[in-house]
Symmetry: C2
Subunit: 210 residues, 2 copies
């Protein structure tokens, strides 16, 4: 039971992953612009820079293969824009939680999916996506806010539970279309179980019930 046998198409994978990281960057940049103080703004700007650098790393892979980044990302714009719109949150803390949880889950997912890429690119992409994402500042801000405000904590717990659903859906739509004849769904299942377990650990770390 392994995702790698699902072998995503390389261009499909790169276009989607690149647009995914660009969306993460845009969400973090919005969090920078609306940060409550300079120290937090500063920490978030580093996290935004990490997402942007993952995006540019993927863009370089697309160019190296002789393709145009914009053309490769285009098929994923509608779904991912809709996803970012739905998960942008009602306030700064919800936005922060989205950046942390959805960003973490999508990175995990893409890294897992990259197992199925050819050997000349899969491991390099996995390393790029696995680079330190600078989200300590998000965790710290969320933990502090949750500790000091019970009502915010329960609202964010609900928001986190909603996020996981939306994020798994957009991740699922990223998978290569399953051949109805094979048991793709059955092979995907354990991967999603792993992703949910990692998500739950992130929620726990914040003091939220998943």
């Amino acid at each position: 039971m392994d995702i790698s046998s699902l072998a995503p198409d390389v261009q499909h994978f790169l276009g989607q992953a690149a647009y995914c990281e660009l969306g993460e960057f845009e969400a973090l940049a919005r969090a920078v612009a609306t940060a409550p103080n300079l120290a937090v703004k500063e920490g978030l700007s580093a996290a935004a820079g990490r997402a942007l650098s993952k995006h540019h790393g993927l863009i370089n892979e697309i160019r190296r293969r002789g393709h145009e980044p914009a053309a490769e990302m285009a098929p994923f714009v509608a779904d991912l824009d809709e996803f970012r719109r739905k998960t942008s949150g009602a306030d700064w803390h919800e936005l922060l939680l989205s950046c942390y949880l959805a960003g973490g889950l999508l990175d995990d997912f893409l890294i897992r999916l990259s197992d199925g890429l050819p050997r000349d690119i899969g491991p390099r992409v996995a390393q790029l996506l696995g680079e330190e994402s600078g989200t300590d500042v998000l965790v710290h801000e969320l933990q502090t806010a949750i500790e000091n405000d019970l009502a915010l904590g329960s609202r964010l717990a609900m928001w986190g539970r909603r996020l996981v659903g939306d994020t798994l859906l957009v991740a699922r739509s990223a998978m290569p279309a399953a051949d109805p004849a094979d048991s793709a769904e059955a092979r995907i299942e354990p991967v999603f179980t792993e992703l949910i377990a990692a998500h739950t650990r992130r929620m726990d770390g914040l003091g939220l019930t998943a």
Copy 2:
């Protein structure tokens, strides 16, 4: 007649330059989020990354000197936020022009001002600020839009003339307070003449009358 004799205070300079680049990053990130197509979004994201990397380079210089970036930037927040608010523009093209003209003028100014910093930091900061800023995409988008729309061209020409005033004012406020006994103003004058000449060349390059 040289700005270097004005010898800016190092911490003052670094705090202000760092917040200046953060503001440029935020403006470019907004331009990324509202870009009309993926190719432009992609180009702008690279420019945003350059501004962010200048910002982080300056933050590193502040840390290296044992200071806290947030504390060093704090004195400049009010003026620079007000400047960014006034120059954010009424639409995407105005925002783009602000990023290009104000960003260019402020970089020129800070590089010039860094002449007065101690030898162990001035040249390094000048090199950092002088790095390629990836603004070709802004120039290309603006040129194309101006060529195809006369009304937009004359609106942007007006916007550019207003920008130079606001930007010179915020740059001037960045200068070490002049000792009334010396002729600081007279020494600053030729520097501002140079900055305006470079601004005029940028306007000309876009097909706008300065």
